[in-house]
């Protein structure tokens, strides 16, 4: 008895905090067991499926679908271009948010368009169009090699070239340094805005049940907070070159996340055969991404950064393009891509906040004439070089 009462007295406070959680769990259990008393559904089931990915093999169209609605969906027939087609599926019934793979046997012809309709048990149809059909490349070694090469061309090499501006930057005086940093902020601002807009549009195409456009903003806020944390942690460490290294590191990280999205876009475009691989694309990206190299080294101009660290920064900024190309070409998913765009935007926003104080003029004003000019120049250059790679 004595021991028991002692235990009661020493009951940890976190147990008390669990009480509402337990009550909630019990309430949910009872509610579900009684099948939501008093809440009868009106209307007919709302069947929604999102086709997340279509993979084309010779004689077969492989659809990856996700239940986007509130009710379970049963795919009963598949119609391709006005004809019933043979198919197999990974599951008979797709529950809410559940995924399934539908393999449709169909002798599709390269370059032609196909309308695929999934006919459900209630007669509803889910439409998906495939335009200019082309075989999805096999993810073999050669394919990953090609994607790595593209990633190098558009990510790593241009960034590295851009970093060669470092010796020159060290020679410019403090006022023009402000201009260069403002120019960098302009470049980054353009990337952030574009990432948010495109990510939002992309999220609209994916399953809305997974969050839609909110995914982009969650990604952005998450990335911003995570980088702010990293920044605070770096500040806490007493390193000699702390400020320059830290700023350059954060810029490289932000640009790296951005290039991940870039690689994703290239890889998935290649996978459906809509990417014209060639000199124009590579040249466009080279010009476009070289400015990113400048953005990395500009904050580091005032202090010495070892060559090894510079190489690390270059890889951090450029190499994610390779990773993105691999993911984009082999496992593209619009909702995941939307989150990645959001992360890229959030990371860039954090970098901008980092750099911004350094572009203040002697009078402490942020938007001094040189800074404003630099910002504008950055935006314009990014827009203009971007035109070279718009497809």
């Amino acid at each position: 008895m004595e021991t028991a009462s002692a235990t009661v007295r020493r009951r940890p406070t976190w147990l008390v905090g669990l009480v509402p959680v337990v009550v909630l769990a019990v309430a949910i259990g009872v509610f579900v067991a009684l099948d939501a008393p008093g809440l009868d559904r009106i209307g007919v089931p709302e069947e929604e499926l999102a086709v997340e990915r279509a993979v084309l093999h010779p004689g077969e169209i492989e659809l990856h679908v996700r239940n986007d609605g509130a009710d379970p969906v049963q795919v009963k027939q598949v119609i391709v271009n006005d004809g019933f087609a043979g198919f197999t599926q990974s599951t008979e019934e797709i529950g809410r948010l559940g995924g399934a793979q539908v393999d449709v046997q169909y002798p599709w012809i390269e370059g032609e368009n196909y309308e695929v309709m999934l006919l459900t048990s209630t007669g509803a149809t889910i439409d998906h169009s495939i335009e200019a059909a082309v075989e999805t490349p096999d993810a073999d070694l050669g394919f990953y090699g090609l994607m790595a090469l593209i990633g190098l061309y558009v990510g790593v090499i241009p960034v590295a070239i851009g970093m060669l501006w470092l010796p020159w930057i060290r020679t410019v005086d403090v006022r023009w340094m402000r201009f260069l940093l403002a120019f960098t902020v302009g470049l980054l601002g353009f990337l952030a805005i574009d990432a948010l807009l495109e990510g939002t549009e992309l999220a609209g195409e994916g399953p809305q049940a997974l969050g839609g456009a909110a995914l982009v903003w969650l990604g952005a806020v998450g990335a911003y907070l995570a980088l702010a944390g990293v920044d605070a942690w770096l500040r806490g460490r007493k390193e000699k070159q702390v400020s320059a290294w830290r700023a350059a590191f954060l810029v490289a990280l932000g640009i790296g996340l951005h290039n991940l999205g870039e690689g994703l876009a290239i890889g998935s475009a290649y996978a459906i055969g809509s990417l014209a691989l060639g000199a124009a694309l590579v040249v466009g990206f080279a010009l476009h991404n070289t400015t990113e190299g400048l953005a990395i080294v500009a904050p580091a101009a005032k202090e010495r950064v070892s060559l090894g660290r510079l190489a690390l920064l270059g890889l951090l900024a450029g190499a994610p393009a390779v990773l993105g190309a691999w993911i984009g070409a082999s496992a593209f998913h619009p909702s995941v891509a939307a989150v990645m765009f959001g992360i890229g935007a959030g990371a860039i926003a954090q970098v901008i906040v980092q750099i911004a104080p350094q572009i203040r003029g002697g009078d402490g004003r942020l938007l001094n004439p040189l800074a404003a000019g630099g910002l504008l120049s950055g935006l314009v250059v990014m827009y203009a070089t971007g035109l070279l790679v718009s497809v």
Binding site: G86, L119, S121, T122, A269, S274, G386
Partner: protein, 351 residues
Amino acid sequence: MLQWGLMRKLWESKVSRRRLIGGAAATGAALPVLHELVPHNGIHGGASTAEAAVEHQRAAHSGSGHLGAVGRVDNAANGFDPHELVRDFDEGVVRNGVREWEILAENREIEVAPGVKYAAWTYNGRVPGPTLRAREGERLRVRFVNGSHHPHTMHFHGVHRDVMDGVPGVGAGNIDPGHSTVYEFDAVPFGLHLYHCHSTPLADHIAKGLYGAFVIDPKGGRPPADELVMVMNGFDTNFDRSNEVYAVNTVAFAYVNDPIEVKRGELVRIYLVNVLEFDFLNSFHIHANFFDYYPTGTKLEPRDFTDTVIQGQGERGILELRFPYPGRYMFHAHVSEFAELGWMGFFEVTG
């Protein structure tokens, strides 16, 4: 960056650029399944080698190529079987010299393609409704009971007084749920006709299943034959004003899975009615054979000797043919789209 726009485009698959096809049919296997399955050899003669070739060809293709839908329709759950319906003629009951039927309109969920359910409106629980059959000049009496949730009518094609025409606003007009009426008229002219609901919205009332064939035999009758009724119909399962499923006698590919059995050399008479909604035309095409065609069946001499006939909405006609060779012969709408969406079948000729 700007290629993100590209990514969005590819997700929407809105790539406007079309690839030039360099002759490489990399996909292969684009064989015209329809014709693969037809034993072309048969028509060239009854030589045993040719027939052996037919058997060989059939065996070779029994396991390859997809034809039809995946799975089977549960005819028992539907309450009617296209294979029984195809030879089911309802002659009603003759009382005091008057031929009488009782028809009930009722809602019923039916399976129109394997696994795909459709909330149909039916006459006597089946789609198409019963094939009503009478003889030229007889007095007909149809008692119609509306057991459904919407007003309905029965509108017969034929020659009769306006009050018996089964249209809203004339005679009994719309028959409300729970109410009934009697349509009475003479069986004229002889031929193949149809009946259907004429309540508005008209396309919906017809498309949901309220129709059937109406046969009036000529006074002297027609030569004995193996008689079949085929009502060409379709179903708009997603309510987009176009059909997702096409068929004869409602169930997509029913006669692909289980062919209609007929005897070699025997006269086969097909009562063919087109009640399709949302599409202007429908057609019937027989493989490896020709038929005599009697439009609307109102003359005793055929107008045509052909293998393909086109019918507009509400059009119908009688086909007569004999199968000279045993085997499996396809018939389908020569509107290929309808064929591949369910309006396709086989005759199995024996003897």
